[in-house]
Amino acid sequence: MSTDVVVLGVGLHPFGRFPGKTAIQMGVDASRLALADAGVAWSDIQFGFGGSREVDNPDAVTSRLGLTGIPFMDVYNGCATAATALALTADKIRTGEYEIGIAVGMDKHDPGAFTSDPTYYAAPEWYGEVGHFLTTKFFAMKINRYMHDHGISHQTLARVAAKNYRNGALNPNAFRRKPLSEDDILASKMLNYPLRHYMFCTPDEGAAAVVLCSAEYAKRLTDDPIFLRAATVRTRRYGAFEVHASWAAVEQDAAPTVYASQAAYEQAGIGPNDVDVAQLQDTDAGAEIIHMAENGLCADGEQERLIAEGATEIGGSLPINTDGGLIANGEPIGASGLRQVYELVLQLRGQAGERQVPGNPKVGYGQLYGAPGTAGVTILSK
């Protein structure tokens, strides 16, 4: 027995830097907004999943929302944390175990590239000591090879970043809201060739929450439901070129995003041609370009032409990262994927204001990717 899953409500605490405000409080604020948007009370919520990297115990939001005794489970799964919380919440509704639940993500990171103990990622201890334990370095090596193989130019990297800053300027919840020209971006400091300072997102702070329920439950509250058609998570296979690894196999396999994406399309019964608006993991401008192809939204190399023609702009044929993506919003890991769902829901409801995709979009697509080689995909539709 299984039931359709509806996204009943979404809430978002702005992304940025909020000195003096705790991650838990941001999670509480986002949860209250999601409950209000859903038209339900906290006491209606039957279970929850919380995601965070910095917060040991996201479940502490319950102490500010009401200690109702519900099962509340905490997850951490790298940059795919939010996708994991969402997928688990959806599963418990789809199988009929519960009727309504909440996924909450929150984080509060220090500025600058993430760091950790490499042994926690099954990398050798010396890997960090010699200066290789950096996600930025991996993304740079991946896009450099991709540019070589598929004819992507440095200008296209700048176009992607400029588009995301432009979209971020239209988003009151974004962190970086100042438009930057392609020239500004190409003149910024090189961090890891070919990627420059303004081509990267930054770890920051924020929270997001999503209330999910069964289609039956939703009938009482909305005539116009947004369905969660798929939520998948996949890890790297042998042969994928992945972050935080001191070596790669000669025998090559596709990235985990490809497998998460294929599984999501299958689960949703929706194909890449049906996608009207997408939010893709743009840890850097190159990642957005690669992820367009890994998610089946174009062929390898086609991005050079599509992006030059403006296809990925808000008014284009394939709008991507309409809220500014990670580049303009930054990445509070626990919340990042739920931010994507928040934006997709606004777009499908026609509530995205200045950044609304025209033409009444019906299918929204979200994708996360991160260390140590985990991807999550979400598909929504009216």
């Binding site: 090596m141 450099n144 790669a248």
Partner: protein
């Protein structure tokens, strides 16, 4: 003056040095550094020395001082950018594994995917007692660095 490796069991104490990897007893998949079980099939592995030469599969540059646990000992003022590459090491029977390592070239204009590189040891840092710590790196074959 003492000269020591930056970490044990990464390369051999021979001239020339060789990287110490592992090879799966079941499926022959090769990894670096040594890991006791196979990344492809999970079976037990054996110590396996890697070919010293190969081609540059991809590269980047490290243009900013990494945060801890980086232990190069530089300050933001003394830090010199370095190249990082993935070298596809080639043995008598063809490519064996791709290994990530420092490159002796840090200028991206002088690096090309497909160029031939070989294993070398390079100074990593000098400790307060004068001990020179060395790490492995890849240099262009023919030494045009």
């Amino acid at each position: 003056m003492a000269r020591v490796a930056f970490a044990p069991d990464v390369f051999t104490d021979t001239d020339p040095p060789e990287l110490i990897g592992s090879r799966c007893g079941q499926c022959a998949a090769v990894a670096f550094p040594f890991q006791s079980t196979c990344a492809r099939c999970g079976a037990d592995t054996e110590r396996h020395l890697l070919p010293r030469r190969g081609t540059l599969w991809t590269f980047t540059t490290q243009d900013f001082l990494p945060k801890e646990p980086y232990a190069g000992g530089e300050t933001p003022d003394t830090f010199q950018p370095f190249g990082v590459g993935l070298i596809e090491l080639v043995g008598p029977d063809g490519p064996v594994v791709r290994v990530e390592g420092r490159l002796t070239i840090g200028d991206p204009e002088q690096l090309r995917i497909g160029d031939e590189f070989e294993l070398v040891l390079v100074p990593f840092r000098t400790d307060p007692d004068g001990t020179e710590v060395v790490t492995f790196a890849f240099a262009p074959v023919g030494g045009q660095s």
